[in-house]
């Protein structure tokens, strides 16, 4: 069964450093998303991406964040200068069509020291 994959599973970084979280969505899916879950809190929407551009972004997704689909398979989330409060599980999701369900990856645990 096709699935969304994410790398790395755990990333530890120093405050102020840049991190790139990688996702491989399900093949032939066209809509891509990033969500995050801070420990003990809700899963929160960050950004949606379709047709090579951002469709929607939340208030969390400020200028420190960016997304990219550098090739036909990867979808990345970059945090330019990490802060302590960026520590969270980051989930990538994808779906095939507008009315489809979003399918989530296993997540990347980001720890900012």
């Amino acid at each position: 069964e096709p699935e969304v994959t994410q790398t790395p599973s755990h990333q530890v970084t120093q405050m102020g450093q840049e991190v790139i979280l990688r996702c491989v969505p399900i093949s032939n899916h066209l809509y891509f998303y990033w969500y995050r879950q801070i420990l003990g809190q809700k899963v929160e929407f960050l950004v949606s991406f379709y047709n090579n551009e951002i469709s929607e972004k939340s208030e969390i997704f400020d200028d420190q964040f960016s997304v990219e689909r550098p090739d036909g398979s990867n979808f990345t989330l970059k945090i330019r200068s990490t802060k302590l409060e960026d520590s969270a599980m980051y989930f990538c999701a994808s779906k095939g069509s507008a009315g489809d369900t979003q399918y989530f990856g296993p997540g990347t645990r980001l720890t900012v020291l």
């Binding site: 969304v4 809509y31 809700k42 899963v43 929607e56 989930f91 369900t101 989530f104 296993p106």
Partner: protein, 110 residues
């Protein structure tokens, strides 16, 4: 906007598990339940459109009461593998993002 007021629930194996969810946004028209095991991402379980009041898939049934802005997930019979965190989620027409509740941890007791 999506509330799951029970952080945890324990149910005997073989009995019915009922997980509840309330929402406040009248614009929500699509509701989902996701299941999550530790160290994994949310896994889609079942969904319901606002034009329906019930959707069934095997052991899982979701009920929607629009007037009360309430939905519930019934699992019957409950099995040990159902022990996980269950997230209620919702989205609005033309709005792509999913809004999640905090989750309910379900323990199925032997």
């Amino acid at each position: 906007q999506v509330k799951q007021n029970s952080p945890s629930l324990s149910v005997q194996e073989g009995r019915i598990s009922i997980l509840n969810c309330d929402y406040t946004n009248s614009m929500f028209d699509y509701f989902l339940w996701y299941k999550k095991y530790p160290a994994e991402g949310p896994t889609f379980l079942i969904s319901i459109s606002s034009i329906k009041d019930k959707n069934e898939d095997g052991r899982f049934t979701v009920f929607l009461n629009k007037s009360a802005k309430h939905l519930s997930l019934h699992i019957v019979p409950s099995q040990p593998g159902d022990s996980a965190v269950y997230f209620c989620a919702a989205s609005a027409f033309r709005d792509d993002k999913i809004i999640f509740g905090k989750g309910t941890r379900l323990h199925i007791l032997p």
